[in-house]
Amino acid sequence: MLKISNVETFYGKIQALRGVDLDVNDGEIVSLIGSNGAGKSTLLMTISGVNKAKRGNIVFKGENIENIQPHKIVDMGICQVPEGRRIFSRLTVEENLRLGAHANEKGKYFENDIKEVYDLFPVLSDRKTQRGGTLSGGEQQMLAIGRALMSKPKVLLLDEPSLGIAPKLVNQIFVSIKNINKEKNVTIFLVEQNAKKALELADRAYVLVNGKVTIKGPGQELLKNKDIQAAYLEGGAKN
């Protein structure tokens, strides 16, 4: 469904991605783990078209998208939940959700879509007239995911949904991600530092080191991989 081959992205002269090869199949949950500065977020931004790939191809449903503008990529069905949530903090919860529907027929199926989001995250329904900035971190993450779902994506790109969120809510969010995948049939590409959670959830996973994929395989298999355990599991993320 989404095939990334030999993608290289630069920030000025600094090379962040050094030829990434990766693919995501329809209906899968694919995780990408890696340490700080490995290029995980850059890869997501490159898929979304916010950063442009200097070399390489990104093919989505048979179409090359590496030179397409970000808003058109959203129209095609790839939506990103950016790192740090990036809620529109002075806008209310419902206004945030409406903005998510911006790409989706200008809100034609809005009422139905918004109901689905509220069913998925009931807490958002309670807070619909509250300003986005007044929500807790976990609620903001739910809002960010809900907002992205409003564009009816085929592929949802999630950038560190566990960042800065209470452990209890992290579990809840990962359960929601699984539900979105299974029930709404949305393909998930998840980028995480919380390697254990990400690998448990994933059908398949990749490890990104210094802008290159070094290890790939089914999530459960990578959980048992000695190198990964040493580098990503035993030290940092035990929860």
Binding site: S48, G49, V50, Q69, P70, H71, I73, V74, D75, C79, Q80, V81, P82, R86, I87, F88, S89, R90, L91, T92, E94, E95, R98, L99, G100, H102, A103, K106, G107, K128, T129, R131, R147, A148, S151
Partner: protein, 422 residues
């Protein structure tokens, strides 16, 4: 209050005094006077002493107030009560204000002077509302807004004097021209934000003014354009003795001739134009494009990732903001009957930005209050001549001290649940 705080306040006030001394010393303290053959410096240390003293005292009082942490001075009590009132009853306030504005010309104390001030305030309200689209909603700091005011005024003046078309044809054309210039400015600044954007827009405002001065063949340079047609009441001119074959306003309605008729008509004209601007802004906030403006102000990257096209969003904001600036410019031209580049200097942009910022970015009611406050205060102190700019500056300082986020800082949501009473 603790002793530590008082000492801190003293220290702070002392430094304020030093800064005031450094500023006022040379500016006020040393005065050049011509006596006989040549210039002599007359020191005025007494005045400096008083000014520095006032600064120290003022700073000390502010410090004392903030050290207590609760707002208990007269001013803050007044302003917080005031804003609570207007936020809760914004709708009532708006209706009352509009009603007042409608009957204002016929109130017993209203004379020519009041009408002129009211027209000026309304012009600034309209400009503030226009700029609010760009600055308040889309979050693009535009320091060259006067350029669109100028483009509107000159387009109107040139079209009206060249082709002799009526106000109602020239007005939309002038708005279109201004919108076109808005897009012209928008393209090169698409990638800029914040300070950088502000600098470029500032430059743009100056470029337009300098073109107006130097393009003599078209704009008549610094001499300006004279004889701009006055507006007519749907074809009825406001003239004491109309040309042959014409009926003037007072004859048609069988009234005694008075120059006030024209003034009152101008007043209602700008009132309607301003209210259209306001209505438009309130409506567009609820449409996808308006929401996209606000989202863009909050977070551009999030916008991109959600499929909002930032290029179109910014350009529409610039274009629509500029269009209303252009309308206001047309009004200015027809009211003055004479325009020159002198009316479109940077200080105008600065005043409009000040109105938007002091009103509380994005607040429509805030713009009204700030315009009345700033323009009204400057007018009230007109007798002080050049010192009235001190009143203007003082008004700004007062707002920033007591209402750092603007008079009305809260953004009203565009969607409210039924029966939701906050």
């Amino acid at each position: 209050m603790e002793k530590k705080d008082i000492i801190q306040s003293f220290k702070d006030s002392f430094f304020t005094g030093l800064i005031a001394l450094a500023l006022f010393g040379p500016i006020v303290g040393l005065r050049t006077a011509s006596k006989g053959e040549g210039l002599f410096i007359t020191p005025q240390w007494g005045v400096v002493f008083v000014l520095v003293g006032l600064c120290i005292l003022g700073r000390f009082l502010i410090n004392l107030n903030s050290a207590r942490k609760t707002e208990i001075t007269f001013f803050s009590k007044f302003t917080s009560k005031f804003s609570a009132l207007t936020e809760d009853k914004a709708k009532h306030f708006a209706i009352t204000a509009i009603l007042f504005a409608v009957v204002f010309p016929f109130l017993p104390f209203t004379d020519r002077y009041f009408m002129d001030v009211a027209i000026m305030i309304l012009t600034y309200i309209m400009l503030g509302w226009g700029l609010n689209i760009v600055v308040g909603l889309a979050g693009l700091l535009d320091l060259g807004y006067v350029a669109f005011y100028a483009v509107g005024a000159y387009s109107y003046a040139l079209i009206a004097t060249t082709f002799g078309w009526s106000f109602w044809i020239c007005l939309p054309l002038a708005g279109l021209f201004a919108a076109f210039f808005g897009i012209l400015l928008g393209f090169p600044v698409l990638r800029l934000r914040g300070d950088y954007l502000a600098i470029v827009t500032l430059g743009f405002g100056e470029i337009i003014r300098i073109i107006l001065i130097n393009w003599y063949e078209v704009t008549n340079g610094p001499d300006g354009i004279t004889g701009i047609p006055r507006p007519s009441f749907f074809g009825l001119p406001f003239k004491r003795s109309p040309d042959e074959g014409e009926t003037s306003f007072h004859l048609f309605f069988n009234l005694e001739y008075s120059t006030m008729h024209r003034i009152i008509f101008l007043y209602y004209l700008i009132l309607v134009l301003a209210l259209i601007t306001n209505y438009f802004t309130l409506k567009i906030r609820k449409l996808p494009v308006g929401r996209a403006w606000e989202a863009l102000r909050e977070d551009e990257i999030a916008c991109k990732s959600l499929g909002v096209n930032p290029t179109n969003t910014k350009l529409t904001a610039f274009a629509i903001g500029a269009m209303f600036g252009g309308f206001a410019g047309s009004f200015f031209a027809t009211r003055q009957a004479f325009i020159s580049p002198e009316s479109f200097t940077f200080i105008e942009s600065a005043i409009i930005v000040a109105i938007v910022v002091l009103g509380g970015m994005g607040s429509q009611t805030g713009v009204v209050l700030a315009s009345i406050f700033l323009i009204g205060i400057t007018e009230m102190f007109r007798d002080l001549e050049q010192y009235r700019m001190i009143a203007f500056g003082g008004a700004m300082v007062l707002i920033m001290v007591f209402k750092p986020k603007g008079i009305l800082a809260n953004r009203k949501p565009t969607i409210l649940m039924h029966g939701d009473k906050k």
